[in-house]
């Protein structure tokens, strides 16, 4: 291949003229890197344009009743940061994300460990496990909404709670929508961690087995440290996703009762789409993006450390 880039010899010769690569004009060669990068640039532009546009709206006064946008600087952001309703949404979102991710991780890891040993039942359960992931969260919200109904829902009937137990009352609604999240996404964590467990090297376990280590010792000192990177990947996915939760929450409660389940996404939707206050909705989303960005950076750095520890390169 090096001959293709070598400069032609002075005076020229037959073989050089016959090389098809040599006939490509220099300007075309120079253009190649740019052409190759066009798809990536288009994709990035496709992501960045709506992002920047949405962020820009956060600095405008733009709503249905103010159809001609006016630049207001940081007024929307300072106003939102001083609004207790916004902070209530932040609290709900944070509670939701932390609690749902924690429960899903613990359950997911537990299920992965149970399914680790290959058996017919394990393989069957593995396939069944993925079913909730195939259901759109909106549909899951509708299904669970019917199940939660105190009058005719199956949950109250099966659990013997009568017709007076309201799963979606103000003090229970957040936990109930989390339950739906756990139902949908625990399999995701389980499958990810299970794949991780199966990729672990066998030698350390065989060696510790020969040394007479107990199962718990091997789990705590061998498997768990090596599993951390996989668990953390699952945590990152689930935590970032939970910060942006919308679908089944909106279907089940629309953010209510009161503000009990009004996450930042639901608040942004209500501001932008229901109330047609585009600037306020964009401000919510910009602030949520900041939260997601900072969280993502932190979690990714934790993941990096965990990977290095698992590889034995960092004490």
């Amino acid at each position: 291949m090096s001959t293709t880039t070598a400069p032609p010899e002075a005076g020229g010769s037959g073989p050089v003229r016959d090389d098809p690569v040599r006939r490509v004009p220099a300007w075309r060669r120079a253009l190649r890197p740019y052409l190759l990068s066009v798809p990536a640039v288009l994709i990035i532009a496709g992501i960045l344009y709506p992002f920047v546009l949405g962020a820009y709206y956060a600095f405008l006064d733009y709503s249905a009743v103010v159809p001609e946008p006016v630049f207001v600087g940081l007024r929307n952001i300072t106003g939102t940061l001083g609004d207790p309703v916004f902070w209530s949404s932040v609290r709900v979102t944070a509670t939701y994300a932390v609690a749902a991710t924690t429960v899903e991780t613990v359950l997911g890891v537990g299920i992965a460990l149970l399914l680790f040993r290959a058996s017919l039942v394990g393989r069957l359960l593995e396939r069944l496990l993925i079913l909730p992931l195939m259901i759109a969260p909106v549909i899951a919200g509708v299904i669970w909404g019917l199940m939660f109904n105190p009058q005719f829902g199956v949950l109250n009937h099966v659990l013997g709670l009568g017709s007076t137990f309201d799963w979606l009352s103000e003090d229970r609604a957040l936990w109930s929508v989390m339950l739906v999240d756990v139902w949908i996404f625990t399999p995701f964590v389980a499958i990810l961690v299970l794949a991780g467990i199966r990729s672990l090297p066998r030698e350390p376990f065989e060696a510790s087995d020969v040394d007479g280590a107990s199962w718990f010792y091997m789990f705590r000192r061998l498997m768990l440290p090596m599993m951390w990177p996989y668990i953390l990947v699952a945590v990152i996915f689930r935590f970032m996703d939970s910060l942006k939760v919308f679908d089944h929450v909106y279907v089940l409660t629309a953010g209510g009762p009161g503000g009990a389940t009004r996450t930042l996404q639901v608040g942004a939707f209500q501001n932008s789409i229901t109330n047609l206050n585009f600037s306020l909705g964009s401000t919510y989303m910009l602030l949520l993006w900041v939260i997601v960005f900072i969280t993502a950076r932190y979690l990714v750095s934790v993941l990096g450390r965990a990977q290095r520890r698992a590889a034995g390169s960092e004490d």
Partner: protein, 491 residues
């Protein structure tokens, strides 16, 4: 045995360079990926909040361009798009669209969007100014939001233009409360009925009581005539052990919780939402009468309403009535009407209607909802769109829809159609006609028109939910009133 020190484990260097990218460590690359992921997440989220170019859409009113004698075929060959949501009115008209095409030579493309998503779609469409839909179904309250930015065509010039409107159209045949409810000049404090005609009522609902007559007859009881009697009756009819309760009404976190039964009885009890003080509106949902009524209403929900009241919308209420779980529903008559059609519910044939409790002075003030047809000001086929609206809200088509509608057509907006075709086909719907006739003269929109309607009214529903959860009614309504007034002041 520390795995970090196990020499048999493959060692991964701490921060190796990413292949082919000198100076970019894996750690750095992962950091960038995290940032990119967050940006992508934001990119998915943020554009949902912005609606493109924005700005005032539409242009000059198109009615002036129509001249000459009226002719249904003036826009022959045109093709219009209409945005609709599945509803008994839409169901009744769907088979008739071919007749419209035959009459006018205009092709109608009707897009259906489920009601839960309908206004999201419509908001986006109108705010973008794209003009993808020439006409659309809308509720009257939406005029207060869609009208001021210029997204809707004023239909008054179309009605008044004899070249565009048939002689027999007779706009005044539409009930007065409906005509005024779809007209406003957008000025703070101006009553409805002023300014442009932004939509033409197509079908409408009065919010009254529907009850299980078979059960009432079995018990030898009659519907309540006062609000306090209604509360007592509803509690008496509630038996949680038997999974039955007295009265279903909406309680979800939505402005739509306020407008049916709540607003009707709120008004009958002498309460108002806002008062005009000088040139500003001041929220009055915290007046003594309003606090007292609200407290009773929420108690009613707790003692005799559905257990999960805070999630209840009208389909939940009517489904409970149809299944025999709820003994009464205080909601739209058009929503309860289909439950009495044979085959539609377990209690079909057992239901009856009543105006609901009168106010202390005997008034039957009733809040209405009307599905109306409106024209996008960004439409590029305004004449064709107007001909469609005119036809659909006209006497002939509405009479036919009443007679052939699969789910009924309760209620027609034209007095002549109600008196003629609707009454003739009413059949065994005890009390329906009497109830309608009792309330129709005092049926109108009883909210004060305002551009912040949806936000303020949704906050009202949130306040009801908070009171239901235990907040003090007076304190919560004071806070609501303050927030609502502030929102209007800073508009």
């Amino acid at each position: 045995m520390n795995p970090r020190r196990n020499p048999r484990l493959p060692r991964t260097p701490g921060t190796p360079p990413v292949a082919g990218v000198p100076g970019l460590s894996r750690r750095r690359a992962m950091g960038l990926l995290g940032a990119g992921g967050a940006a992508a997440a934001g990119a998915v989220l943020l554009p949902g909040c912005g609606l493109g170019t924005g700005g005032i859409s539409g242009g000059e009113n198109g009615a002036g361009e129509v001249t000459g004698a009226f002719d249904w075929r003036k826009a022959e060959g045109a093709e219009i798009s209409v945005l609709q949501t599945p509803h008994p009115y839409q169901v009744a008209f769907q088979p008739l669209l071919a007749q419209f095409t035959e009459l006018t030579g205009i092709t109608v493309n009707a897009d259906l969007v489920a009601e839960a998503d309908y206004y999201t779609r419509l908001n986006t469409e109108l705010a973008s100014g794209a003009g993808n839909y020439d006409a659309f179904m809308t509720g009257a309250y939406f005029i207060w939001t869609y009208g001021p930015p210029g997204w809707m065509e004023d239909l008054r010039p179309w009605i008044d233009n004899e070249s565009a409107t048939a002689d027999e159209y007779d706009f005044d045949d539409i009930y007065e409360g409906l005509r005024t409810s779809t007209s406003w000049d957008f000025a703070v404090g101006s009553p409805l009925g002023t300014g442009g005609q932004w939509a033409i009522p197509w079908g409408f609902e009065t919010n009254v009581l529907c009850y299980n007559k078979a059960e009432f007859d079995r018990r030898g009881i009659r519907p309540a005539e006062t609000f306090d009697e209604l509360r007592e009756l509803a509690v008496d009819l509630t038996d949680r052990d038997e999974n039955t309760y007295g009265l279903a009404f909406r309680g979800s976190r939505s402005w739509a919780t306020i407008h049916p039964g709540f607003m009707t009885q709120f008004t009958r009890e002498g309460c108002v939402d806002y008062t005009l003080e000088g040139d500003r509106l001041v929220a009055a949902m915290n007046s003594d009468a309003a606090v007292d009524f609200t407290r009773k209403w929420v108690d009613l929900a707790r003692d005799a309403g559905p257990t999960s009241w805070t999630t209840y919308d009208y389909p939940d209420c009517t489904a409970d009535l149809g299944s025999g779980t709820a003994m009464m529903v205080y909601d739209a008559d058009s929503a309860t009407y289909p439950q009495n059609i044979a085959g539609n519910s377990a209690e079909a044939g057992n239901l009856a209607w009543h105006p609901g409790p009168a106010g202390p002075d005997g008034n039957y003030d009733t809040n209405l909802w009307t599905w109306s047809l409106a024209m996008s000001s960004a439409s590029r086929n305004k004449l064709a769109a107007w001909l469609f609206i005119q036809w659909a809200t006209g006497r002939d088509a509405q009479s036919q829809a009443v007679q052939t509608g699969e789910l009924g057509f309760a209620d027609p907006t034209r007095e002549s159609v109600f008196e003629d075709a609707f009454k003739a086909g009413l059949g065994d719907f005890p009390g329906y006609q009497e109830t309608f006739e009792r309330v129709i003269d005092s049926t109108r929109i009883h909210f004060t028109p305002q551009t912040q309607f949806f936000e303020n009214t949704e906050n009202w529903a949130v306040a009801l939910q908070d009171i239901y959860a235990g907040d003090d009614a007076e304190e919560r309504l004071d806070a609501l009133a303050q927030a609502s007034t502030d929102a209007l002041d800073t508009e």
